[in-house]
């Protein structure tokens, strides 16, 4: 049989449905949904060491992060959108982090806060128990530098995360 006269839909494995209303409605809806999602990312309570104190400072009254939608910090990963890894990850904690990440429902985002979560930080050389960067364990979206980063730096990272969500990643 000649290939050019063969109908592709005859051998296509799935079913093709025409979209009602066309493509423009779905993409506008996507934009609205992404905007809504970016302004309401709920973080998970996860702080291991010193960066957790700066995270708590960001949550409190002076550098309030609930202005940007991070209102409720959930203790359970089932209800959280973003996990802010504040602190060093060590070999014993890595499976716990992986399990928490797996328990979070999609779409989920990860912010690696501080030098330790980015690359092992001050504990890079001559340590036998530190994971040199949280991205060895889970995929990270935003990295924040600092030891510990200022609350404004964390807010900047969260706003960049919001921009990333709004762009549809």
């Amino acid at each position: 049989m000649d290939v050019k006269t063969q109908d592709p839909r005859a051998t296509f494995p799935g079913e093709v449905h025409p979209t009602p209303g066309g493509g423009i409605l779905v993409s506008k809806l996507d934009d609205v949904i992404n905007w809504a999602r970016s302004n309401s990312l709920w973080p998970l309570v996860f702080g291991t060491s010193c960066c957790a104190i700066e995270m708590m400072s960001t949550a409190s009254a002076k550098y309030d992060w609930s202005r940007f939608g991070f209102e409720v910090a959930r203790a359970t990963p089932r209800q959280a959108d973003v996990i802010i890894i504040a602190g060093t990850i060590v070999n014993k904690m890595a499976p716990v982090l992986k399990r928490l990440y797996d328990q979070m429902p999609d779409p989920k985002y990860v912010v690696a806060m501080g030098a330790c979560a980015t690359s092992g930080g001050p504990f890079f050389y001559n340590t036998y128990s530190v994971v040199k960067g949280a991205d060895h364990v889970i995929p990270v979206d935003v990295y924040v530098a600092g030891c510990p980063p200022r609350p404004e730096a964390l807010l900047h990272a969260l706003i960049s995360l919001q921009a990333k969500v709004k762009a549809g990643k």
Binding site: N91, K92, F124, Y125, N126, S129, V130
Partner: protein, 148 residues
């Protein structure tokens, strides 16, 4: 002077010169007897064990105990030498000073010193299946440790 009293309990002890506090070196076999005397004798009354360490001297290990008395306000340091690195054993003092329980687990975890009569000798900081004793001088870990 406490030095005479301590020498009478443990005649084989050797005192070091020019140290911050009276420091005695004993063998690990005499530790238990000395510990009981340090706690129970009225004019010694060492009831506050504030630092339990182990030092790896490459040929042998030494357990270092810093003790203080809240009654008489004096402090001593006891260094118990463990001669055999591969079979490091010393008596546990968990029922004399309650703080020794967790501290001895830490010494076991990081140095491999085995404490006899300890109620629950397991690893404390590292996971149960970790191989090796990291703070020993001959510990090699090419996977995790990045040398500067």
């Amino acid at each position: 002077m406490i030095q005479e009293k301590l020498l009478s309990i443990c005649p084989a002890a050797v005192f070091e010169e020019n140290t911050q506090w009276p420091t005695m070196n004993i063998d690990s076999a005499e530790w238990r007897k000395l510990a009981e005397a340090l706690k129970n004798e009225n004019d010694l009354a060492f009831d506050y064990l504030f630092c339990v360490t182990c030092v790896d001297w490459k040929t042998h290990l030494t357990m270092v105990y810093h003790l203080s008395s809240t009654l008489h306000r004096h402090t001593i340091v006891v260094k118990a030498k463990i001669a055999d690195r591969n079979n490091a054993i010393i008596d546990s003092v968990y029922n004399i000073w309650a703080t020794a329980e967790l501290n001895e687990r830490e010494a076991y975890d990081l140095f491999g010193v085995h404490f006899t009569n300890h109620p629950d000798l397991r690893r404390l900081f590292l996971s149960e299946d970790w191989v090796g004793f990291p703070l020993r001088k001959d510990y090699e870990d090419p996977i995790n440790m990045i040398k500067l």
